[in-house]
Structures are given as structure tokens and as C-alpha cells.
């Protein structure tokens, strides 16, 4: 699969990342290599093989509805690059509401 600038732009937009021109070239090369590798897997005949989604066969692993507090606010905020005493802070985002 040919990775062009358009695909890189779309992916960086979805990932909310920005790349300059030289970074773009590097990523293009990396992604092409990754996709070439995956394409090799495509050569294997998988007719009649169920897709593998889960790493084990457990079903109905359910939890009883019991509330527990396991970490404090201070611990929660500890690794945040930007914060105040109560909140995580991120650069102002235009209100665009996701659901």
C-alpha cells in the first residue's frame, strides 16, 4: 500500500498530532514498512478461519457492582504534565463536544 501525504495528514488529524515535513517523510517510510509486513500476512490463506479477537477463551468475566476508591486525587494527578490542585489541565480546546 502506498502511503502518501494525504494519508499522513488524515492520520495525524485523527491522532491530534502535528508533523513537520521531515518528520512526515520519516513516518511515511516507517508506516510503509509496517504495512508491507502486514501485507505479507495477507498472503496466507485464511478461508474458513475464525478471526482471533481474544487471547483466552474466558467468557462472562463479570464484576459485582461495588464501588471502591483505589487511588487519591493527588495520586491521580501525579503524572500529569499540567495540573492544579484539583484538575488536569490541557491547552484550551474549542468546545466540540464528543459523545
Amino acid at each position: 500500500m502506498q502511503i502518501n501525504d494525504e494519508i499522513i495528514d488524515k492520520l495525524s488529524n485523527l491522532a491530534k498530532l502535528e508533523f513537520n515535513d521531515s518528520e512526515k517523510q520519516e513516518i511515511k517510510a516507517d508506516l510503509s514498512r509496517i504495512l508491507d509486513f502486514v501485507e505479507k500476512l495477507q498472503q496466507v490463506n485464511t478461508d474458513g478461519v475464525e478471526p482471533l479477537i481474544y487471547m483466552n477463551e474466558d467468557v462472562n468475566v463479570l464484576r459485582t457492582d461495588e464501588a471502591k476508591i483505589t487511588i487519591s486525587k493527588e495520586e491521580a494527578l501525579k503524572n500529569a504534565p499540567l495540573k492544579d490542585s484539583d484538575y488536569f489541565k490541557v491547552p484550551t480546546v474549542l468546545k466540540s463536544g464528543q459523545s
Binding site: K10, L14, A15, K16, I53, Y54, M55, N56, E57, D58, V59, N60, V61, L62, R63, T64, D65, E66, A67, K68, I69, T70, I71, S72, K73, A76, L77, L82, D84, D86, Y87, F88, K89, V90, P91, T92, V93, K95, S96, G97, Q98, S99
Partner: protein, 483 residues
């Protein structure tokens, strides 16, 4: 102008479940805690953490599915919906994509003219809420509170079966009533426990093809759902009538101005790249699990409505008021297990009981008088032991003041027992006739309307205690005697 067009509306309702813990982690799900205190490494999306399905979410989803007549999927899978936003630390929402737990089903309600109306459901699926972004407290940053991140949601999607803003209002009202009856969500739209998005398009009347669909978000009350839809229909018709083009987009409703404004267009829309969630194994729902949950479902408003109108012979208005609120309906259920005068029981509920609740801004669970006492009052009135007025104006207020007091002692204390013994009432009748000899003559010469005057006097003389039925018979007999 609007008359030339037909609106086509579908609703998406997010139902925040009242579980104790979140959907895929055990941090508390309750509302209103200090910011970022209801979080866990799973909620925060830390590497190496694994989600865990809350069994209660499944139960609640099945409850709602059964109540709406949906098909329940036996083998459930979860999916990741990928997008990057600061209030979603994992970078994806765990939801259901191609395998929603409920498909089909319907919500039915009565329209204003009393007709039955059904709106088909497309699906109901399980997912999780995002955190909260606060944009207006810091000029340079957006503040993030992740208490809500991971709280369990059901998303209900309707078919585009809704044709007016009033129908949308009734649909949301019915859903809210239903989730409250089922006790799976508090239905509080202002706090965001119940959120509604609307997909709205218009098309020339008589055509089959759908117009361009616009999604409207941010309607935090049922009234605003109706207002937003009304505005949006008008806006779309105006654009089309002026020769313009509508774009598929998401618009935000502003409750202050009552208008919608463009939020983001679908062109730049996210590509959510759904794929099966490998961290959560499949959940198989068994028949016995479904049957267990079916047995937990209380009588639902539609069933009670039917019972009250068909079995109890009440009007649809009465039945609607009685079933509006679950606890109110339960009190009535309780009351009607103690009296067979259903009409009178309904009148007591809708009259004195409801007035008391309104005046005191109280809910029925705070109502001080036991249903057995209301049933007793109804029986006293029915047996002519006390008058209706004595029951509502004296006995009832006294009981409100002293709910524990024995009714018989109140009757004696306030002297409320009616005189229905003919011999004790006869002197009043004689006295009343003696007061107006000329009217007696007028009556006897044909002015039958004067009966009321004599009745009034008898009631007055007896201090309001004369049993009106017996008294009226006596008055009539005494007057007619001389003809």
C-alpha cells in the same frame, strides 16, 4: 410555509445508569464528588490496566430491553470507538458496535388527542461516559474532571419515526418515566443523567426520500428538546424555501437564545475506526438470567394505565396523572388494595393528596398519612358516616397534623359524625319549615326549586352534620305531605 414540509426526527438518548460503580472499573459512579476523586488507573487509561464488566450494567440493559420489547442478543461483544479528546484518557470509548445488546422494540405513548403512538427503536447498547471539560474557568487551559469518565451508559437510538416536536417531547417523557419505573436511571436531565440528541430533517410532504440530516445536541430539558426541534425545523424550511442548501452537520442548541448554531461539519468528522475490544471477553446471556431479570421488572406505567382505565373504569386523564410517577402509582396501588371505590381513591390522590404534595414541594414517600387511613375516610363517606366536606376539610387536615391519631377519636373530637337517624333529624325539618311558612306554600303550589332552601336550613341547623340523603328525603316528605 412550514405546512409544505414534513419533519423526520430520530432521537438518541444517553441513559446514565444508577449503578454504584462504573461500567468497566470499580470507582464510584455517583454524581457531585470533588473533581478527580472518583478515578482509578483504569479510568485514567494507564498502561497495563484492564477493564472489568460490571454485572449490574448487563442487568439494567436487559431490564430496559425487556420493557421495550427488544430482541436481546445472547452473545455480546464490546468494541472500541477511537477518538482523541482530553476527557477520554484511554483514547477510545468502550461501546458496542455491530453487536448491540438490544435491537428492535418500541416506545409507545399517548398523543394529546388520546391516540396510541409507537416509535420503533433501532437499538440499545452499553457504553461508558466521558469526563467533563471545563472551558470557562481558566483563560489558557481547559480543565478536566474525570469523575464521570467510565460511568455506565445505555444509548437508545430510535428509528426516524417522529414527526413533530410534540412527539419528541412525549417520547423523551415516556423514556424518562420508564427508566425511573425500572430504577435504572434517575432521569435527571439537568444533571445530565438523561441526555438527548436529535437527528432532524425535513422533506416536502408526500415525498418518501429523506432530506439532509442535521444532528442537534445539548438539550438539557424536555422543554428544550421541543424548542430545539421547533427552531431547527423552521430553520431548515427557511433555508430550503430561500433556495439554499442544507449540510449534514452537528449543531449546538443554545437555551438562552433558543437557536442552534453549527458545531462541526461531518466533512471533518472523525473516523472512529471501530474494532472489537480485545480486553473484554464476550458475555453470554442465558435464558435463566433473562428470566430472573424479567421477574424483577415492576408493573410499568403502560400496564398500570391499562389497568386503571379498563379494570378500574377511570378516565385517561386520571390514569395519566396516577402513573406519572412510580411511587405515586404505588401508593395508589396500595390504596386500591384497601378500598374498592377506585374512582373515589383516584379523586383523593389527584385532589387532596397531590395538592398537599404540591404545596409542600414533597414527594409521595414523604406523605404522612398511611393509605389505610385514606381508605378508611373513603369508607366513612361511602357509608354516610361523615359528609364529603367533613372528610376533606376537617378530618384530612387533622390527620395531616397528627398522622398517628386514631380516626374515630378525631370524629368524636371534631364532632363529625353525620346524623342519619330520621328521628333526630325531624326536629330540624320542622324548624326549617316553621321559619318560612310562605315558602312552604309556594313550594306546595309548584315551586319545587325551593327544596334547596329548606335543605340548606336543615344542614345549617344541624351544624353541617345532617346526612344529606336522609335529610333531603325527610324534607321532601314533610313538604309533599301538605299537597
Amino acid at each position: 410555509m412550514t405546512d409544505k414540509y414534513e419533519p423526520v426526527i430520530g432521537l438518541e438518548i444517553h441513559i446514565q445508569l444508577s449503578t454504584d460503580s462504573k461500567a468497566y472499573s470499580s470507582d464510584p459512579a455517583s454524581y457531585g464528588a470533588p473533581p478527580n476523586t472518583h478515578v482509578s488507573p483504569i479510568t485514567l487509561g494507564h498502561p497495563g490496566t484492564l477493564p472489568f464488566v460490571n454485572k449490574k450494567v448487563l442487568e439494567f440493559a436487559i431490564k430496559l430491553g425487556l420493557a421495550c420489547g427488544c430482541d436481546l442478543r445472547r452473545e455480546n461483544q464490546y468494541a472500541r470507538k477511537n477518538y482523541f479528546y482530553a476527557d477520554l484518557p484511554k483514547g477510545y470509548q468502550i461501546t458496542q458496535d455491530t453487536t448491540p445488546i438490544c435491537t428492535g422494540g418500541e416506545i409507545s405513548f399517548k398523543t394529546k388527542d388520546g391516540a396510541d403512538h409507537k416509535v420503533r427503536l433501532t437499538r440499545i447498547h452499553m457504553e461508558e461516559d466521558a469526563g467533563k471539560s471545563i472551558h470557562d474557568q481558566d483563560p489558557f487551559n481547559t480543565l478536566i474532571d474525570l469523575n464521570r469518565a467510565g460511568v455506565a451508559l445505555l444509548e437508545m437510538v430510535s428509528e426516524p419515526d417522529i414527526r413533530s416536536s410534540e412527539e419528541a417531547n412525549l417520547f423523551v417523557t415516556e423514556v424518562r418515566k420508564l427508566v425511573r419505573y425500572l430504577e435504572i436511571c434517575d432521569g435527571n436531565m439537568e444533571e445530565g443523567s438523561l441526555r438527548c440528541d436529535a437527528n432532524i430533517s425535513v422533506r416536502p410532504k408526500g415525498t418518501k426520500k429523506f432530506g439532509t440530516k442535521v444532528e442537534v445536541k445539548n438539550m438539557n430539558s424536555i422543554k428544550n428538546v421541543q424548542r430545539a426541534i421547533e427552531y431547527e425545523i423552521k430553520r431548515q424550511v427557511e433555508v430550503l424555501e430561500s433556495g439554499g442548501t442544507l449540510y449534514q452537520e452537528t449543531r449546538n442548541f443554545d437555551a438562552v437564545s433558543g437557536t442552534t448554531t453549527a458545531m462541526r461539519s461531518k466533512e471533518a468528522a472523525n473516523d472512529y475506526r471501530y474494532f472489537p475490544e480485545p480486553d473484554l471477553g464476550p458475555v453470554i446471556i442465558t435464558e435463566s438470567f433473562i428470566e430472573k431479570i424479567r421477574s424483577l421488572i415492576p408493573a410499568l406505567p403502560a400496564e398500570l394505565f391499562k389497568k386503571y382505565t379498563e379494570e378500574f373504569g377511570l378516565s385517561s386523564y386520571d390514569a395519566t396523572v396516577l402513573t406519572e410517577n412510580k411511587d405515586f402509582a404505588l401508593y395508589f396501588e396500595d390504596l386500591t388494595s384497601k378500598t374498592k371505590n377506585f374512582k373515589s381513591a383516584a379523586n383523593w390522590m389527584i385532589g387532596p393528596v397531590k395538592s398537599y404534595l404540591n404545596e409542600n414541594a414533597a414527594v409521595i414517600n414523604e406523605f404522612p398519612i398511611e393509605s389505610s387511613k385514606i381508605a378508611e375516610i373513603i369508607a366513612l363517606i361511602d357509608n354516610n358516616k361523615i359528609s364529603f366536606t367533613a372528610g376533606t376539610k376537617q378530618l384530612f387536615p387533622e390527620l395531616l397534623k397528627n398522622p398517628g391519631k386514631d380516626i374515630n377519636s378525631i370524629l368524636i373530637e371534631l364532632n363529625l359524625i353525620q346524623e342519619s337517624d330520621a328521628n333526630s333529624l325531624k326536629p330540624y325539618v320542622a324548624k326549617a319549615m316553621a321559619m318560612y311558612p310562605d315558602k312552604v306554600i309556594e313550594y306546595r303550589s309548584g315551586k319545587k326549586g325551593l327544596l334547596g332552601l329548606f335543605m340548606g336550613e336543615v344542614m345549617k341547623l344541624s351544624g353541617g352534620k345532617a346526612d344529606p340523603k336522609v335529610a333531603s328525603k325527610l324534607v321532601k316528605e314533610a313538604l309533599d305531605e301538605g299537597i
